[in-house]
């Protein structure tokens, strides 16, 4: 962040934040792949693991505050997402959905945590990976349950439709299941995190620029920019949680759809 500020402070006018602000340099020049988002993703894995291992270690009937905190998140994913959506046999998918939710949520929230302040999911590579995993999981369980032929037949040929209509419907079905679902899943998450971070950058950096401007009016208006940035931070927090929820919910819905007996 400071790098930007100095960079732009030296410039002539205000340079609005752009997509380039998401391309952070490697931490050390020698290891090219070790960028901030990469580091954040690994940090999230460590944080999530430590938190949940500590909170679940005792597995007491009467939970401590820590156990209660971890358990609430787990129970939310297990009951409200996995059980309510998938129903029968949902326990098989709880570990995956739980990992998905905590992973996305933590990396999203990194976007508003001081010092970290970067949502890893605004780098499209991570949402892509998660969407690919979800894609593989729901197709795999569908094929496992119904067999390859029956599974594809159910997707491509909706029963109870006159034969010529399949020319219209089958491409839509196939496109939905194999292209649009993983694509929208990952792009929705990416775009929300990207736009949210960009918006925060605009107001915080804008406020900073105005504060350092020579004009008095600009200096006076700079606090408003900061205040709006702070208000947006709360809004962002909501969006970050919501997007983690939606990603997990859609994964559960796709799994439920692949397991359903008939369309």
């Amino acid at each position: 962040m400071r790098a930007f500020i100095q960079l732009h402070a030296e410039g002539d006018g205000f340079v609005p934040p752009s997509t380039n602000d998401f391309n952070l340099p490697p931490i050390t020049e020698s290891i090219a792949w070790l960028t901030k988002p990469v580091l954040l993703v690994f940090l999230s894995v460590i944080l999530i693991s430590v938190f949940f291992i500590l909170s679940s270690r005792k597995a007491a009937v009467v939970p401590s505050k820590l156990q209660f905190a971890g358990e609430s998140i787990y129970a939310f994913v297990r009951n409200d997402l996995a059980r309510d959506v998938i129903g029968h046999d949902f326990m098989r998918f709880v570990p995956y959905l739980f990992t998905l939710f905590t992973f996305v949520l933590t990396n999203n929230i990194f976007g508003i945590i001081p010092l970290l302040q970067f949502p890893a999911m605004s780098h499209v590579g991570f949402p892509y990976v998660l969407a690919i995993f979800t894609f593989l999981v729901f197709h795999y369980v569908g094929i496992r349950k119904k067999g390859l032929g029956k599974y594809f037949k159910e997707i491509a040929f909706m029963p109870g439709v006159p034969l010529p209509v399949y020319i219209l419907l089958t491409p839509i079905e196939l496109a939905t299941f194999f292209i649009v679902r993983p694509l929208t899943l990952s792009l929705r998450l990416f775009a929300n995190m990207f736009a949210g971070h960009l918006l925060l950058l605009v107001f915080i950096m804008g406020g900073d620029y105005m504060m350092h401007d020579s004009h008095l009016i600009m200096k006076l208006f700079s606090p408003f920019s900061f205040a709006f940035g702070i208000a947006l931070t709360f809004f962002e927090f909501m969006v970050q949680c919501l997007q983690a929820y939606i990603f997990t919910l859609l994964t559960a819905l796709y799994i439920a759809g692949a397991l359903a007996d008939e369309h």
């Binding site: 790098a3 930007f4 960079l7 997509t19 380039n20 602000d21 998401f22 391309n23 952070l24 340099p25 490697p26 090219a32 792949w33 960028t35 988002p37 990469v38 993703v41 690994f42 999230s44 894995v45 999530i48 693991s49 949940f52 291992i53 679940s56 270690r57 597995a59 007491a60 009937v61 939970p63 156990q67 971890g70 358990e71 787990y74 129970a75 297990r78 326990m91 709880v94 570990p95 995956y96 739980f98 990992t99 905590t102 992973f103 780098h123 499209v124 590579g125 991570f126 892509y128 990976v129 998660l130 995993f133 792009l187 990416f190 990207f194």
Partner: protein, 178 residues
């Protein structure tokens, strides 16, 4: 896919094209997290849930057991009560019957006694009367003989005749009495 762009290079980058490194790192990190959570966290939380369910269910079962026990005790108590009542009424009945029997016994005994006493009295009276009659007869006989001897002046030594006379006299006496 491209490798790396630094912020200092102000080239335009497409944010929809992923970094290869990020795909790899994302996959590894996610898999790692998945393994940790599946191995260490999910089973523990499930254990806690199961234990909690069992604790609640156990409590319910205990309560049910206690209720059942209370019910059984009540039934037992009622049974005991009714059997005690039956016993008591049986005893009462027995006592009543026994009392009646004793009373009956006593009455018959008293009646017997009374009858016996009456009979004894009767027989003693009869005996006395007989005695009286006999002695009276003897006395009257002796007197009459004496009187007649005196009157007749003849000794009625003949026993048979004497007694015949006495008998006729008494007969007359009896007749005159009636």
């Amino acid at each position: 896919m491209r490798t790396f762009n630094f912020a200092s290079e102000a080239e335009k980058v497409n944010p929809l094209v992923p970094h290869t490194a990020e795909l790899v790192v994302g996959a590894i990190a996610f898999t790692l997290l998945f393994l940790v959570l599946r191995r260490a966290v999910v089973p523990m939380f499930e254990k806690a849930f199961t234990a909690r369910t069992e604790a609640i269910q156990g409590g319910l079962e205990r309560a049910e057991q206690a209720q059942l026990e209370a019910q059984r005790a009540l039934v037992q108590y009622n049974e005991q009560l009714s059997s005690a009542q039956g016993e008591a009424s049986k005893l009462r009945e027995e006592a009543r019957i026994q009392g009646a029997a004793i009373l009956e016994d006593l009455r018959t005994k008293a009646q017997d006694e009374a009858a016996r006493i009456t009979a004894a009295a009767h027989s003693s009276i009869e005996a006395e009367r007989q005695q009286a009659i006999t002695s009276l007869r003897n006395e009257v006989g002796a007197l009459a003989v004496e009187l007649a001897s005196k009157i007749v002046g003849e000794a009625l030594d003949d026993q048979a005749r004497q007694s015949r006379i006495v008998d006729r006299f008494i007969e007359d006496l009896e007749k005159s009495q009636k």
